[in-house]
Symmetry: C2
Subunit: 190 residues, 2 copies
């Protein structure tokens, strides 16, 4: 990447991160001024690059979905050729984020706030569709995938209303979910 | 209940509901004035009954936990004497709330906002401990309970970042979780 492109990419990254943090702190009603201050750029520069406050927040939503998809893709073990490798990466990334503190909290609060921005619901639906397709291609029994993914999501969010995370229970949940991806077939009536 | 006590209970209920809605709309930084307006009572009356804004929000947190516990207790099928009856009621109440619209959304946003209020984290931890004890007494294999409860939690929150709920997937998840509570024993390595 040429120097100028690299600077542009770096500024874009800084603005998207600052905007996400500003929405978590102040809600979806956060002003463009507040985002500009947090990103240490001018309001004019923001408008030039993103067009409007809502267009910027829509890009935050797309960026969040992409960051998570990329993190899971990067976490797939290249030596793992068995069915469920994507689900295992999903579980690993979800639980790893919990070690870093209030990531899940911020993610949920951010999603709830961004939902009010025009176009964001469509971005989220498209992202869900991509996940559904990717999990279908991953090969495990669909009910097993649904159960493991939903339980990972639930474990990630539980700390929000349980007054923090129960580290030992998280470890147990993670091991159980990974073990469930290493078998296959129906979970009930067997 | 005497007339005066009934009025007091009714006012308390209206204030707690209005305060919860005001926190969802405006965040934990919501003013006592805004809560008083939403509840259609005087600020002086609020202070007289609850002591302070934070004391009121702490009571909102206790009330939310109690409402959910009571709803689950009421949903236990009196004809169901098998292990897992409490888990089945938990699943039923969690999914029934999703039919009513953005309940899970509000619950998570409310919990995230209330966490900042002094004493709320302790209330949440105590509530989690009560649930852990109640599930232990319910008799199913602990890993099975953990999996089902976390998957129900995850299904409830997924609509937040998936652009709404996939009704058919919710129905499938609910049936799967209920079926998982009707068997027992280890889920993996069998």
């Amino acid at each position: 990447m040429a120097g100028k492109e690299r600077d542009t990419a770096r500024t874009r990254r800084a603005v998207l991160d600052a905007a996400a943090a500003a929405v978590v702190a102040h809600g979806a009603g956060v002003s463009l001024d507040a985002i500009a201050r947090a990103a240490d750029v001018s309001k004019g520069g923001l408008l030039h690059h993103f067009g409007s406050r809502d267009a910027l927040l829509l890009e935050v939503a797309e960026d969040q979905a992409e960051l998570f998809r990329d993190a899971v893709a990067a976490a797939v073990d290249p030596a793992d050729h068995a069915k469920g490798r994507l689900v295992r990466a999903y579980v690993s990334v979800t639980f790893a984020a919990l070690d870093d503190g209030p990531a899940a909290h911020d993610y949920v609060v951010l999603a709830a706030a961004l939902s009010a921005v025009p176009g964001v619901v469509e971005v989220m639906r498209l992202d869900k569709q991509r996940w559904d397709e990717a999990f279908a291609a991953d090969g495990l029994d669909p009910d097993r995938v649904l159960l493991v993914v939903r339980a990972a999501d639930g474990a990630a969010v539980a700390g929000l209303y349980e007054g923090g995370y129960d580290v030992e229970q998280l470890r147990r949940t993670r091991e159980l979910l990974l073990a469930l991806t290493r078998e296959d077939g129906p979970l009930v009536g067997s």
